[in-house]
Symmetry: C2
């Protein structure tokens, strides 16, 4: 799995001319780092005012961020697996009408998964950005730059994932699905 | 070293309430991923028009990006080491005037390094963004989303590093150094 590689080896994998891992996994990783930094700030011994309610709000944010971070981290490998499935589907035999039909269906299934995974990353990144506001309001002000970096990475992860949704969605033939995904993307953009 | 950890372990390290690794190393990592993705697109077998001059331009970009990527990757650990030095300097003894003087000097040296490292990341990220324009113009259009993700990550890495420059620069007492760094930051922002 990509997340079990060393950072050095993962960077080498991103830079190789093999199609995966690519921008989708990179976006999920960027958002995972952003969510992790917010967890760090939420867990610092000092808070802005050291009031009990503030500590409770940060503990709650840390729990939410921990779940988001876990799902974002899973998406690093899921995005690469989904793209590999698209490539595999395009390579299926197409000599007979039956094969052509099966290949077309496999491509459509794979493209949907390759759309759903980055759509999930957009969603999770926006949820983490909502927690960033809580962490910024109550966290130790000396960690303000860590919160700022986290927000920049989550925004970049969301933007990157959105580009991956759009490029894969273009190949999906189901109009209702396409419209639903576009509508959700617009709604999520409004949250930012 | 951080870059020898697995991705999973590095994310855990970012999320722990220990002060390092923090936003500075995260910014360097984001830009390293961005530069790596651009190398991938520059190395794809197909280019936009498959013309020889285009292939040559992309090969040159890949060489430049490889150097930038190497330096950005070094900065992941250098930023954490620099911040650890700042923390260590603040913990030096301050019982006698001599100790106070030595501590003050150590803090100033450490803060300069902790400013120079993220300033380098801003510089390298902007240089990589300049290569992104070449890769976008000549690279395989099917990898357009990878270029888009790379640009988003490099911009986020540059923004994050800039925040780290500013926070550490605030503690530096040398006016000439402060002005020089602020002038370079403005000049680099103009490049974007």
């Amino acid at each position: 799995m990509l997340v079990d590689k060393t950072v050095r080896d993962l960077l080498t994998a991103f830079s190789s001319s093999d199609p995966t891992p690519g921008g989708g996994s990179a976006s999920a990783l960027a958002s995972s780092i952003g969510a992790s930094l917010l967890m760090m700030v939420a867990g610092l011994p000092k808070t802005r005012t050291n009031a009990d309610e503030e500590r409770a709000a940060l503990e709650k944010a840390a729990l939410v961020l921990n779940g988001l971070r876990r799902e974002l981290t899973d998406a690093i490998d899921a995005d690469t697996a989904a793209y590999d499935q698209v490539v595999a589907a395009f390579k299926l035999p197409k000599a007979t009408p039956q094969e052509q039909e099966a290949r077309k269906a496999a491509i459509q299934r794979a493209l949907r998964t390759a759309t759903d995974v980055p759509l999930g990353v957009v969603r999770l990144s926006m949820q983490a950005l909502a927690q960033a506001a809580i962490v910024a309001a109550h966290g130790n002000p000396s960690a303000a730059s860590d919160v700022g970096v986290a927000k920049a990475l989550l925004a970049a992860g969301a933007d990157g994932a959105r580009m991956n949704v759009e490029i894969n969605l273009d190949g999906v033939k189901d109009d209702a699905y396409r419209e639903a995904v576009r509508a959700e993307l617009s709604a999520l953009a409004g949250v930012a």
